[in-house]
């Protein structure tokens, strides 16, 4: 490769002692996360290295805890400096940008006026108290979202809060929180929204989407949606009173945690942890009986893992709490309770009847998979055998898609 074709990224990697071989390996992992063949790695590498003018982006914090920003700071493939300096030009990024006040606001105005940018939105959409539960520089959070989304090529809603309101919309939803796509639909803003749930978002997924958008789709949102396999999950938004078809990348959110869990073999053998932190946990037995929500939660956490692949929830001994699900707190709490116990009544907490039905679907899904239906080689995504769109048990009982309504 000619010297002049090297980007700042290449220089940075060289400074840090990252070889070209390592870099290609990384591009392979990006490809895997995208559900592409790893043979795409050289093309991904070429696209990253050859980047000229950077595409602009705005990272907007709504009703957030800043956890998704923290999360993107944990990515090492590449690190956040590379993402914000060499992939995209983040003209606004509240938590890490140098400028503040007016100087920062001006960046939003100029970027929106110029167009051709993407928005990454973190946090819930705050509609409570007539929208004054989030007030920045005299503007309501909802107004800021409408403003930045209206002229954007696409919006990536990162973290469960941005997807549907997350924990903030849990009963009794005191601040009347909702998600980005629901709010834009209500405001008739047609900019496409791609949803990346979990609490916080896994940063590898953001990188995967950004690479997909830049490389495969040439920063064209329509093309992006066409070439990226998606699954749709429908929610009824109580805040807007509308039904919303949320769009999720299938390579990431197409299969349950249970489908790919390394502890799956113990589930098949009936080997369970019945007490947290016990001798059974030391043997990595299945956490289903202490409340694991892996069977009803559609993410590829066991494959991508967390914090630069250091570990993930189940590996550390904790049952999955289903933070990648919809209305995840109400649907999954009490977190330490087996799903089959939750449907028996009396201990359902704030879960409403409709929710309980969805939870039952999750249990059934687990049982069906245990009988060999929809089995899939653990640890693989993308090019494996196709998964059923809907488990047979759920179909019979009228659930919409899978166990996770």
């Amino acid at each position: 490769m000619a010297q002049e074709a090297h980007s700042a990224l290449y220089d940075l990697l060289a400074v840090r002692g990252v070889s070209r071989r390592d870099f290609l390996k990384y591009c392979g992992s990006v490809a895997a996360a995208l559900g592409l063949s790893e043979t795409m790695a050289p093309q991904i590498a070429a696209a990253m290295e050859g980047a000229g003018k950077l595409k602009p982006a705005l990272w907007i914090n709504g009703g957030s805890c800043t956890g998704c920003t923290e999360s993107i700071a944990q990515v090492d493939t590449p690190d956040v400096a590379t993402i914000v300096l060499d992939y995209l030009s983040f003209n606004y990024f509240e938590t890490i940008m140098a400028a503040g006040g007016e100087d920062a606001e001006k960046q939003i105005e100029e970027t929106v006026a110029a167009g051709g940018y993407i928005v990454i939105y973190e946090g819930s959409v705050m509609t409570g108290q007539d929208g004054n539960t989030l007030l920045i520089n005299g503007k309501k959070g909802t107004e800021i979202l409408e403003h930045v989304a209206s002229n954007a090529a696409a919006v990536i809603a990162v973290g469960s809060c941005a997807v549907d309101g997350g924990w903030v919309m849990a009963h009794p939803n005191p601040a009347e929180a909702t998600g980005v796509q629901a709010w834009l639909q209500k405001k008739k803003i047609k900019t496409p929204v791609v949803n990346l749930p979990t609490c916080p978002v896994n940063p590898e997924w953001i990188v995967a989407m950004v690479v997909q958008l830049l490389l495969v789709a040439d920063f064209d949102a329509a093309k992006f949606l066409k070439v990226t396999p998606m699954v749709t999950r429908t929610v009824d938004c109580k805040v807007t009173g509308e039904s919303v078809d949320l769009l999720f990348p299938k390579g990431i959110f197409g299969q349950t945690i249970h489908d790919n869990c390394p502890r799956r073999g113990h589930f098949e053998n009936g080997e369970f942890v019945t007490k947290l932190g016990s001798a059974e946990e030391a043997m990595n037995y299945c956490l289903y009986k202490v409340g694991c929500k892996g069977p009803q939660t559609y993410t590829n956490c066991p494959v991508v893992r967390w914090n630069s692949r250091a570990s993930w929830c189940v590996e550390s001994g904790a049952p999955c709490i289903g933070c990648g699900g919809l209305n995840w707190v109400d649907n999954n709490a009490p977190f330490l309770m087996r799903m089959s116990d939750m449907q028996m009544g009396g201990t359902i907490g704030n879960v409403q009847a409709g929710t309980a039905a969805a939870v039952v679907g999750g249990v059934a899904a687990a049982a069906l998979v245990a009988h060999g239906l929809g089995m899939k080689a653990a640890g693989r995504v993308g090019d494996g055998p196709p998964m059923e769109e809907m488990k047979a048990y759920d179909r019979k009982r009228g659930a919409k898609k899978g166990g996770d309504k």
Binding site: A8, V15, N61, G63, C65, G67, C68, E70, S71, A73, Q74, V75, D79, V80, A81, L85, S89, Y92, F93, I96, M97, A98, A99, G100, G101, D103, A104, Q107, S124, M126, Q129, N132, T133, L134, I136, N137, G138, V168, H171, P174, A175, L276, G277, S278, W306, N307, A310, S311, W312, C313, V314, E315, S316, G317, A318, I321, A333, T347, G349, N350
Partner: protein
């Protein structure tokens, strides 16, 4: 007299607005506004007490570990649970990893850009940079490559996260006089800014190994921990703690000491209310908050540098100037949260933050409070590092400086970095303590026995300051939940008597040499890590 508004205040967690009144180049009054309300406390009501561990930590994505630990403690107190010793050590280690992560991220990613000028680094002489790094005892990087990368970035004309700030650094307008480091030091700091991003991530990986992921972790469940260490995992933790400690020893501390002589003016302002609270953090085997590694205590400024005992009953929250119509002055055990927005009016109500008070006084929380309490209490490691640092500062100032000088903006900045060093040193010892306990045959990590009803107050310390979770459990469900977060203390608005909160008070009297570019105010706000 002129008003300057910073909104949004960037490089912090969450949404904050700062308004200052400037008279003759000095801040004469200040108002700090918390701009977001989500209602966590109401969401926790009627849920199973254990669930608060997972839900309540999501109030903050930068210090979720500390919130979850305060929450778990309140559940354990309410239900009469005593956690096993191994769980105590594991929680300390997870907490320590978050401290190291948070302090590194704060200094380099959030605060440094108030002092460091990456544009100025372009004129650094590379050989001189290596010489300076050696003289300062700070780690070297490929300074030439970093400078080249910076040059390419500036030439490219797309400034990404630096957009809108280059004028302050002297591009296209006059440089703000507050950026006063020599170019070689700017280059060193910029190189470490990039390296710090990697190291804060290594610290967070420790949490992932022991607790699934960061932010928002999984295993410190009321009753103990779900994490059962293996030899491999202990190794994964120890080598990462060692790596992070090395960075703190060879970059964070020497960088702090190298920059300090150029910002000595910050020792003369920014002290604030001079009341300092610490609930105490890093549990000792006897589970007594006064024997925690960083102990509990309160310093009341009017009474000088002496420490008194404190308890949860001394806390109240006033709402005269906050958007609530629940009663003012309630103790959190009886606290209420009824949101009611009116309008943003600094003469009336102007914040979503309640005004937390201790014995009726505003109280600063955070590393400065913890280090002062520990220093006065005579914690040896803290006493040594503060005395050593005062020695270095005295030399730079040409006068003997006592611990009083820490009651300043400079002190607040230094305290955070010195604390990182103390915690990094301790963390290695705590890994070995866990190894010894396991070798000795201790295999208990979690207890399942628990009562069904009771009241609890989990009082703990996040990297950014004191955190309290109050919980009442009736019939096996949470009947009341109240949180007093670190930022609730530091960004508190005025109370009924018009007494300013700690950040407001710290701003008053500080210089403001350029009212359009209020760099000093930014530094003070950032120094609280709000």
């Amino acid at each position: 007299m002129a008003r300057t508004v910073i909104d949004p205040l960037t490089r912090i967690e969450g949404h904050l607005r700062v308004e200052v009144e400037v008279t003759d180049g000095k801040v004469s009054d200040a108002w700090v506004t918390g701009e977001l309300w989500r209602g966590m406390e109401l969401i926790l009501e009627n849920r199973h007490p254990e669930d608060a561990f997972w839900i309540s930590q999501r109030i903050c994505g930068v210090c979720p570990i500390s919130h979850s630990h305060a929450s778990a403690q309140s559940t354990e107190q309410a239900l009469g649970i005593k956690i096993p010793n191994n769980a105590r050590i594991i929680r300390n280690l997870i907490e320590a990893a978050q401290y190291l992560h948070s302090h590194i991220l704060w200094f380099y990613t959030l605060a440094a850009l108030d002092f460091v000028n990456p544009v100025n680094a372009l004129s650094a002489n590379i050989a001189d940079t290596y010489a300076l790094a050696q003289a300062a005892g700070t780690r070297v990087a490929d300074f030439g490559a970093v400078q080249k990368r910076l040059a390419g970035f500036v030439e490219n004309g797309q400034f990404s996260i630096f957009s809108g700030h280059l004028g302050w650094w002297g591009v296209g307008e006059e440089k703000h006089p507050g950026y006063a480091l020599p170019p070689e030091l700017d280059l060193i700091a910029t190189a470490h800014y990039l390296e710090a991003l990697e190291l804060q991530g290594v610290a967070a990986q420790i949490i992932a190994v022991m607790s699934g992921k960061f932010p928002h972790h999984m295993t410190s469940i009321p009753g103990g921990t779900a994490f059962v260490p293996t030899e491999q995992k202990l190794d994964d933790i120890l080598f990462r703690f060692t790596r992070v400690k090395e960075f703190i020893d060879t970059a964070l501390i020497p960088d702090t000491l190298a920059i300090a002589p150029f910002i000595l003016d910050t020792a003369s302002y920014g002290a604030g209310c001079k009341n300092f609270l610490s609930w105490g953090v890093f549990e000792s085997a006897d589970m007594d908050p006064y024997t925690r590694s960083l102990p509990r205590g309160f310093i009341e400024g009017a009474k000088g540098l002496s420490v008194m005992e404190v308890g949860p009953e001394m806390v109240t929250e006033d709402v005269e100037h906050a958007w609530y119509d629940s009663p003012s002055g309630l103790n959190p055990a009886k606290g209420e949260t009824a949101a009611k927005f009116t309008s943003l009016d600094v003469n009336d109500k102007y914040s979503w933050g309640k005004a937390a008070r201790l014995n009726g006084l505003p109280a600063e929380v955070g590393p400065l409070s913890r280090m002062l309490v520990a220093y006065v209490d005579g914690v040896p490691e803290v006493k040594k590092i503060i005395d050593d640092t005062l020695g270095v500062l005295s030399k730079a100032a040409g006068a003997k400086l006592g611990p009083e000088v820490l009651l300043s903006l400079l002190g607040r900045i230094a305290a955070r970095n010195l604390e990182a060093k103390v915690v990094a040193d301790w963390s290695i010892g705590w890994v070995l303590e866990l190894v010894e306990a396991i070798k000795g045959g201790d295999s208990a990590y979690f207890v399942t026995e628990r009562g069904s009803d009771g009241d609890g107050a989990g009082l703990w310390e996040a990297p950014r300051g004191s955190v309290g979770h109050w919980m009442s459990v009736k019939g096996g469900k949470i009947s009341k939940y109240q949180i007093v977060a670190p930022t609730t203390w530091d960004i508190a608005p005025r109370n009924a008597d018009g007494v300013r909160g700690p950040m407001e008070e710290a701003l008053v009297g500080s210089p403001c040499v350029d009212a359009k570019r209020p760099l000093e105010a930014l530094r003070i706000a950032h120094s609280f890590d709000p």
